[in-house]
Amino acid sequence: MKITGAQLIVRLVERQGIDAIAGIPGGANLPLYDALRASRIRHVLARHEQGAGFIAQGMARATGRPAVCFGTSGPGATNLLTAIADAKLDSIPLVAITGQVPRAMIGTDAFQEIDTYGLTIPITKHNYLVRSATELLDVIPDAFHVAASGRPGPVVVDVPKDVQSETVECDALPAPGKVDPPPPLRADEIARAAALINDARRPMLFIGAGIIAADASAALRRLAERASIPVAATLLGLGAMPAGHPLFLGMVGMHAARCTNLLLEECDLLIALGVRFDDRATGKAEAFCPRANILHVDIDASELGKIKQPFLGSEADVGEWLRALEPLVAAAPRCEWIARAQQLRTEYPLALPGAADPLQPYGIIRHTAALAGGDALVTSDVGQHQMWVAQAFPFAWPRQWLTSGGLGTMGFGLPAAIGAALAAPERTVVCFTGDGSLLMNVQELATAAEERVNVKVILLNNGHLGLVRQQQQLFYGGRYHASRFHAEPDFAAIARGFGVTAFDLGGGADPLATLARAVCVPGPCLVNVPIAAEANVYPMVPPGAANRDMIDGGIHDAIRA
C-alpha cells in the first residue's frame, strides 16, 4: 500500500492502543493533523503545549500506559520541554511527537526551527530525528517500547514536515512496540535478601513510585503484614499502602510526620523498593538511616549505589522480586519493634490543626476527601498545598495520587487532572492547587470546559507563593521579597469567564454546604478557598539538613544517643 509518513504515524499510534492525544497544531505538523482527522483517536486541543504535555502525563499516570502529545516545531517543541522533563524525573511513559521544518531547511535557522533533538537529549529516555518516512516503521513502535520498558520515561520523535508528507510503499505494518520482559531474578540475591529480613530486628520498608509502576502494592502489603515491617513512602509512593493501614507511617522526609523520620533513624535494615533516594525524602543523605544496612531493589541498575551504597542491591522488577521473596520470609510479630513504632506515633504524631475547618488547609483537604469519596483521583500542583495534601489526604490505592515529584512543576495540576479525567471518565478528579501554581497553566480551564471533564479544582488561595514565603520566613530572617501577589485576581470570575462553574468559600455562606454542592456539579468546576497567608507546612526539614533536624518542636528529645 501507499501511505504518507503522517498516515503511518497515526496508524502506528492507533495500533499502540492510543485513543486520545493532546496537542496543538502548527505549520510544521499540519500533515500529521490532516492524517489524524481520519482517525478514531480523540484529539484534545490544549491551549498551550505545556498543557498538552501534562494532559498526556495525566493519562499516563492514571493508567500506567504510554500517552501521546503533539506539538509543532520551534515554540511548540520548546513549550513541551517542561512537561517532558517532568516525565523524565518521575519516570512517566510519554511519547511526544513534534513537527520539524522540512529536511532541506534543517540547520538554516528557518522559521520556527529549533534543534528539538538536541534540546531533548538530557530530558528524555531516548529521542529520534526521523530522516525518512520509511524510518517511521521502526521508530514509532520503538518509541513506545522504550517509553514503557524497564524504568518508564519520555521519548521524543521529531518529524520533519516533508517526512510527514512523503509517500512510502509498505506491504504490512510492523507489530506494535511491546514492553521488554524484566531482567531475570537472581535466586541467590533473593535468598540473601530473605535472610537479611529474617535476621533484622528493626526492619523498615521504604517505598516509592517503583512499587506503583510495577503494580506491586498487594505484594508489598503481604510482605509488610507477614513480617511485621513498618512502611514509609516517598511523595510518589503514596497510595501504594492505604493511609489507614496500621503499618503505614505515611510520607518520609522534608514534610513527614516526626515519628516516621525518627523510626527510620532507628531501623537496622532499610528495605528500599522502587525508590531513588531523592534528597527531599532522605534529607542529608549521609545522615539517612545511619544504623541500617540497605537492601535496595530497582529496575534501573544505575540507581543502586547512586546516592547510598546498598549492602545488597538488586536490579529487578520489584513486583516479581517481592513475589519470589514472599515464601522465604518468616512470619514474625516483631513485638518490640512494632511497639516502638507505636510509641513514636503516639509521642510524635502528624498534627493536622484545623482539620475540621473548611477554611483551613487541612480542613479543606479532609472535607474534600470525604465529599469526593474514596474513588476520586487526586492531582496537585506544587507548593504548600501539595505537601498538605500529601500529609492529610487519605490515599487508599495506587495511581490515585498524581503529582509532580522530581521536577516540582507548578502548573502540573490542572492539565494533569484533565488527562486523568479523560483516561478515567467514570471518576471524579480533584485538583488541589494554589494561586501561584494555577496561573502557570490557567489557560487549560478552557480545555476543561471544552471537554466537559469531571475535574474539581480546589484552589487554596493565600495570595502568595506560599512555600517561598515560608522559606523566607524560616531561613531568610523574615525578609520577604517577591513572594506576595499584590494583585489578587478574582479566580471565581476567571473560571466563569472560561465557562467553568465556580464557587467562592470566602463569601460568608456556609462553606461546607458550598463545597458539597461544588463536588456534585457535573463537569468542571473551581472552588476558591481563601486561606491564611501565614499558614505554614510543618514539620519541615531545612533544605540540606538531616531528617532528624525537623523544625517545629522538641525533636531532639527523642533521639537516643
Partner: protein
Amino acid sequence: MTPSAPDTVGAGAVLRLLVRNHPGVMSHVCGLFARRAFNVEGILCLPVGDGACSVILLVVNEDERLEQLIRQLRKLEDVLEIHRAPEAREALAAIAGWLQ
C-alpha cells in the same frame, strides 16, 4: 612526544563502546558526561564494519564513580555494548603522542 601525554592515558580507565552510527549519538554520550559531571580525559570515535555502528573509546578517571558512569552509559539506547578495554591503551597513547 612529551612524557605527560602517555601518562594521561595511562592513569585513566579505557572504555570501549559499540554505538549506533548516526548524527546524534556523540551528543548523547558527551551530553551524559556533561550533565552528570563525569570527567572524560579523551574520546575517539570511528565507524566500524559497514558503517552502521561506530566504536567510541573513552578515557575516564579510574575512581569510585566509574561503575555509576558505566551504568548510566548502558542506559543510552544507542549504546549497544560497553566494556573496559585496557588493550586500547597503547594505541591511544600513540595518538596522544602524535597530537603533541
